[in-house]
Assembly symmetry: C2
Homo-oligomer: 345 residues x 2
């Protein structure tokens, strides 16, 4: 199982990508192909001791920038590192893609080159959130706005399969994000989705509220990509703001500054617990292949972990499980009377 | 300017409501009418020194419970404390309502008894969030799901008038919550709303993201009530979860426990900064009158502050300003070619 790393996409490419790949190859023995400008990558790779590691370079002459319009750039830049990385998967040379580049382009290129899994209308980006009880997967955070119920139902199924087979949750609990717990709450989209999810054979717990995410009430939280993106950025922003406000108060007095020296270790282990780098990247679910989308500003650890999780995702044949789940529980269900109409919104 | 306090609605009613009223009357000299069961309220009031304070009791024999269906309860329970409180405003006996009861019922009763302001189709609940730069008002957080652009535009106008005249922001900056800053982002609803807001004469800053709320990038953040409710509950839940996770780490060692004693004061002033009780309640905007909706579990300080802000809101004639703003900037604009169609979604 080989992982193709788009080595040119991130904010600090290719320095971080190359180092992350070296560490992942060393720590987990994962074979890796770095995709990007050969000269630049050879030069960067030469800075590391790569003896005994299976790291190759595959040339790609173009790069999709952070501000390029995603689908346009993917179509136009035929030799871009992200597109070439997916081509390696398509050609059977690699089994998974990791990128810290333009996430819209990573999504668009995945759909363009590898196509969608049969039965999935819209691939989704799933983000792992740290919670009081462990981890919760939230999807979609990838910009699937104006969803129909059918899309959210498919997100739920993809999240269930990912949580079960990659995150190792035996019987994942699924929740639908809403503005209240009662079935009477929600909007048109969630009410129709709620009705369908109750009939799918998995552990569906109904509506969950914003606060439930961090209490870890369920393993998978489903929402449309507009709401998911607000949730993701709000959480990042609030956590940062709390940190800054606390710091402002602490530096106000010598006593509290001294106290901070003593609690610093506790702060650090807290930070480690909620560090996005621990989770590496967000899986792109629903394409015929494996892809992990990393933060543009990812550090070495984040890239390393993303490569590790991408490898696990590919190794465990999660997409095959997803195809089976769709065939067994979803296709038949969708053929029941009236379901199609509700699902289409 | 007299404030009618629904003294029976909150989780700890009427104990907290009565004490909050006494403190507000003492601290700000605000005349108050407590609405609810006369015997119960007299008994509670007798526990306080009310000499020189203008606090009266107005009888109401019924209470809307936290789990009652809002609009149904309001219609059915004609003598409920929340409905009677609004009747006092309608009859000119009081000028504002404060309630820690069922917020759906507080909203429904307000619309039912006082009716909407001309030009406002849906009243909204606005919540103040503490930010790195001060405060930001987010609306709607009150459950106006499935909005049309016209509703969000009206929320924006109400928010700007409230921020200007009650929060004292000279030229409030308005933002529309979205999944990215570029105009190409957003969903159908926000894109149409964005186009209209650009043409209204106020300081509209375009799309803002989830993280911008806590950075205080704008003074007023507009969203539909589904998204607003997720934002509100997510923020509460995340702040609590961070507190709990930090505490878990701190109690793990004697050194950090000792350190905590020294930073405790900093933690406390931080907590005070972000304490919901400082803001009292959330204004219900768009009805012909003034109402503040408090958390069911409000403490005395929250009730006191809500009474104070409700009094300010009434005293400053904010609704009159709102009517003027609607007439001057909005009615004419809405008559332009094509605007009505876009606004109607």
């Amino acid at each position: 199982m080989r992982v193709a790393v788009d080595a040119m996409g991130g904010d600090n490419a290719p320095v971080i990508e190359v180092e992350g790949a070296v560490v992942a190859a060393r720590e987990y023995g994962i074979p890796i192909t770095l995709v990007g400008d050969t000269d630049r990558l050879s030069q960067e790779l030469a800075k590391h001791n790569v003896q005994g590691l299976d790291i190759s370079i595959h040339h790609a002459s173009e790069v999709v920038g952070m501000h390029d319009a995603a689908s346009d750039a993917v179509r136009r830049k035929k030799d871009s590192s992200i597109r070439v990385a997916y081509e390696l998967v398509k050609d059977g040379v690699a089994d998974a893609v990791v990128s810290a580049g333009n996430s819209g382009a990573t999504m668009a290129a995945g759909m363009f080159v590898l196509k969608r899994i049969k039965g999935i209308e819209r691939p989704a980006i799933a983000q792992i959130f740290p919670t009081l009880r462990g981890k919760t997967l939230v999807l979609d955070v990838g910009g699937n706005v104006d969803c129909k119920p059918i899309h959210l139902v498919q997100f739920a199924i993809m999240g269930e399969v990912y949580a079960r087979h990659v995150m190792g949750v035996e019987r994942p609990k699924i929740g639908l994000l809403s503005n209240g717990e009662e079935d009477s709450k929600g909007n048109e989209l969630t009410r129709d989705t709620n009705a369908i999810l109750k009939d799918i054979s998995f552990d569906y717990r109904g509506y969950v509220e914003g606060r439930d995410i961090f209490y870890g009430m369920v393993d998978v939280v489903v929402c449309d990509g507009f709401v998911g993106n607000v949730v993701l950025k709000l959480s990042e922003g609030l956590a940062e703001a709390i940190g800054k406000m606390l710091k402002e108060e602490i530096v106000k007095s010598v006593v509290s500054k001294l106290g901070y020296l003593l609690v610093r270790k506790a702060f650090k282990s807290f930070k480690k617990k909620v560090d996005y780098a621990e989770y590496g990247g967000a899986p792109l679910l629903g394409i015929n292949g494996v892809a992990m989308i990393c933060h543009g500003g990812s550090n070495v650890k984040a890239i390393k972990n993303a490569i590790h999780f991408a490898h696990e995702y590919a190794r465990k044949g999660v997409n095959q499980r997803l195809v089976e789940k769709l065939e067994n529980d979803f296709v038949a269900y969708m053929q029941r009377d009236g379901v199609k109409e509700v699902a289409a919104g």
